[in-house]
């Protein structure tokens, strides 16, 4: 139950990037119609997941796969919520945007990633204001360890800057940062090291306790470009 889990892919995209540069062609190498209708939060998250899966060599697929998705966030799609409600207020909802409303659920980008990449595993978003992503990482590892039929888990963090939201500090990472986890032997294209639980349930990477996903990624990617 506690064997090491391999990190086989990373995908990272900064929220500082000009949103206009975040195009399907630039990301996927080809047009992808649904991408244009997505909100910024979803685009970021989908881009991060796609890059991680591509890095792990899992981008191409024929049959849907039992691969799960766990994302952690502080703000979620709060910006999209505000954009949507701005369409509701005038004229008592007459112009409420159904397209925007669909993206006022923070898990919708996981559904988009599942469609794009053929992923049928579990998928949910954890909202946690410590923004370390550790709860999600722990759940992703547990899912992989507890069920042999799970091929891989993709987990990470996704947050967008919230202008005017001064009540809390900004998350330590603004953008999307995802990693692919696999049981050893599934995929040998990349090996960024292994993760395991110690007896107390803490997550260990290279003999050190992991405190947050962003630091883990920085450590794992030293000298490499995902």
């Amino acid at each position: 139950m506690t064997h090491p889990i391999a990190i086989t892919g990373f995908g990272q995209i900064s929220a500082g990037q000009d949103p206009r540069e975040l195009t399907a062609k630039a990301l996927f190498g080809h047009p992808y119609k649904p991408f244009g209708r997505m909100d910024y939060f979803s685009k970021l998250g989908l881009a991060g997941i796609f890059k991680a899966m591509a890095d792990a060599g899992l981008r191409e697929w024929q049959e849907k796969r039992n691969i799960g998705l766990v994302a952690s966030t502080r703000f979620g799609c709060l910006g999209t919520d505000r954009d949507y409600f701005a369409t509701v207020k005038p004229n008592h909802g007459m112009a409420a945007s159904p397209a925007l409303f669909a993206y006022t659920l923070p898990n919708c980008f996981l559904g988009e990633a599942a469609i794009l990449l053929g992923l049928t595993g579990e998928g949910f978003v954890i909202s946690d204001d410590d923004s370390t992503g550790m709860a999600g990482l722990s759940m992703a590892m547990t899912a992989l360890l507890g069920d042999d039929s799970v091929e891989a888990m993709v987990c990470g963090i996704c947050d967008t800057p919230q202008p005017g939201h001064s009540e809390t500090q900004a998350p330590p990472f603004e953008g999307a940062l995802f990693m692919v986890l696999e049981n050893r032997g599934h995929n040998s294209r990349n090996n960024y090291g292994t993760l395991e639980f110690d007896r107390s349930g803490a997550i260990i990477y290279n003999q050190e306790t992991v405190g947050d996903i962003a630091a883990l990624a920085a450590n794992a990617l030293k000298g490499r470009k995902p």
Partner: protein, 373 residues
């Protein structure tokens, strides 16, 4: 694997301020759906929802804090080391226009509120998976206990009827002009609802040590995605089939028979048809009795699975499914499976399912409570 018991439960719904009151009104065939005066509905497809008229804002200015306070005040003392999981799709979204309340809009806000209010050590996290949020939160809490990572967990689910959500479902044309009619051949969509549910989960070791009598056991769970559409279910129910199959294959359920199914049953054309297809794929020609609570309680979104699991305890205790309110003529293929009357069943196991936007599906198997001393 540690067995996981439900040792306390509570709900607040449009049909009652407690689990017992809600249950009695459900069994009487009542509906909590009523005309809304909370906001102007003139431009929406419906003017009604299953809402709680006396839910006035308190504490942080949101009605959600009031709802949650009413919910957790019904619970007995909790172990301080209990994990805290919440499940909400939109948290205090009634504050979206209130300057300076940004923190309350975060989905994690109610987890922290509950943790502080109950003096629990864990600050808590929120699980968001659309209308499957609370079923997944219960599954994750149960998994933590089953694997020995915790001995106690509190799972609270909650969502409000607000103009934000109401306008969205109206704009998507998923909302029924009339009260929802789950599994009816003339169903036209869902009716929004509000409410909250709480389950206290306890590991067998601690339950025995404390001499607790379980209300029920969580004997299985499964989660799976459709990977087919963001706002519509897979027509063949592939994701739900996988989720249910996984739940049924959990060790405690092997060779056991499901006595009844509390379905998601939203009243939308595609959801209800998808569920029937999935149940037939799993159970063949032996689909057990099926019901939906959403004609009575409305679709309470992220709260739905939690409320339904709490009421599932009552269903198992009394060996009866409450009436599917709103149903008059079952859709083709549902004849004999669903009813607008209460349906008796025999069995110790209840399957309860939810599905949501993003194409996510989740299933729980509840086992009737028994003495463990």
């Amino acid at each position: 694997m540690e067995r996981v018991f439900i040792t306390d439960a509570a709900v607040v719904t449009s049909l009652g301020a407690t689990l017992s009151e809600t249950w009695q009104n459900l069994m009487a065939g009542d509906s909590g759906i009523r005309k809304i005066d909370r906001f102007d509905t003139r431009n929406y497809l419906s003017d009604s929802a299953a809402w709680i008229p006396d839910l006035v804002p308190e504490a942080n200015g949101s009605m959600l804090a009031t709802l949650v306070t009413r919910l957790v005040s019904q619970l007995g003392p909790l172990d301080r080391d209990a994990l805290v999981f919440t499940a909400t799709t939109k948290s205090c979204i009634d504050l979206i226009d209130s300057p300076g309340r940004g923190n309350d809009l975060l989905c994690s806000s109610m987890a922290h509120y509950i943790s502080q209010r109950l003096n629990l050590a864990d600050r808590g996290i929120n699980i968001s998976a659309a209308c499957a949020s609370s079923t997944i939160a219960i599954a994750k809490a149960a998994q933590a206990i089953a694997l020995g990572r915790a001995q106690s967990a509190l799972v609270c689910s909650m969502d409000l009827v607000t103009e934000f959500v109401f306008s969205g479902f109206s704009a998507l044309r998923a909302m029924s002009p009339d009260p929802a009619k789950p599994f009816d051949r003339d169903r036209r969509g869902l009716t929004i609802g509000e409410g909250a549910g709480a389950l206290v989960l306890t590991g067998e070791t601690r339950a025995k040590a404390k001499g607790l009598t379980p209300m029920a056991e969580i004997s299985g769970w499964g989660i799976s995605g459709d990977a087919s559409h963001i706002t519509a279910p897979d027509r063949e129910g592939a994701g739900l089939v996988r989720a249910v199959t996984k739940a049924l294959e959990c060790p405690g359920n092997l060779n056991q028979t499901i006595g009844a199914i509390n379905a998601h049953g939203t009243g939308t054309v595609y959801n209800d048809a998808m569920e029937l297809t999935a149940f037939k794929r799993v159970f063949g020609d032996r689909v057990p009795p099926v019901n939906s609570l959403k004609g009575a309680l409305g679709h309470t979104l992220g709260a739905g699975g939690g409320i339904e699991a709490a009421l599932g305890i009552k269903m198992l205790d009394h060996q009866v499914l409450p009436p599917t309110v709103g149903l008059s003529l079952p859709e083709p293929g549902a004849e004999g499976l669903v009813s607008n009357q209460a349906m008796d069943f025999k069995g110790d196991y209840l399957l309860t399912t939810n599905s949501g936007f993003g194409g996510i599906n989740a299933a729980l198997v509840l086992k009737r409570g028994e003495s463990i001393r």
